[in-house]
Symmetry: C2
């Protein structure tokens, strides 16, 4: 059975919040067993919990804010635009990314692909 739209919406919101402000465990709790991560698209797919833990571990110590800007849901799939701001003292690093996810019956993330490149990152004076 497909997860409800509200359940998918909640997972996406929790994901962006956890990536910005949570721990690696917070993020990994949103993933289904055996989930895959391709970020950015075109790089090798991460397939093990150890690889996911390493990937999200890099950003855990950063001071960030995150916001979902647009979310489109189709059956058990979602594509969403979000903004992640990393606060670096007098500068903010602003990234806007489109993530595409599939979800299992419990609205856990079974795959994630992130669409972005260098040109989607910019530094601005801290707000």
């Amino acid at each position: 059975m497909a997860p409800t739209r509200d359940a998918i919406r909640t997972t996406v919101e929790n994901y962006v919040r956890s990536v910005a402000k949570g721990t690696v465990d917070d993020v990994l709790a949103l993933y289904a067993p055996g989930a895959t991560v391709e970020d950015p698209v075109g790089t090798p797919v991460r397939t093990t919990e150890a690889e996911l833990r390493e990937f999200y571990g890099v950003i855990e110590p950063m001071t960030q804010t995150g916001e979902v800007l647009e979310l489109k849901i189709a059956e058990n799939n979602a594509a969403f635009l979000f903004r992640l701001v990393t606060h670096l003292g007098e500068q903010d690093l602003v990234m806007e990314v489109v993530d595409v996810m599939t979800f299992d019956e419990e609205a856990r993330i079974s795959s994630m692909k992130a669409y972005w490149s260098q040109e989607d990152m910019k530094t601005v004076p801290a707000s």
Copy 2:
């Protein structure tokens, strides 16, 4: 060899313009031979030129305007948010959709998946 970012950007802009204002032939000229279309995601994948021709033929006669709102490129892949407004006399039907595409070496579309559902469509008084 991967297409350039500029070539991908041009194809995406041409695609949205052709869907809004062009003919079926204009749209199909942007697709690579053997391309697939899943719109919306979760529905059967269209795999033949006849199926693509039928799909885009439905919207050819409509009076529409289209606009790319956000475009993210990663290697030979793109995810973009666009708005398509169908003018229906005194009302406009406004759709916002995220499309994900892959491209061949000539920046022709080799696959398209569209993320949207009923809640991404709304009617407003004609502007």
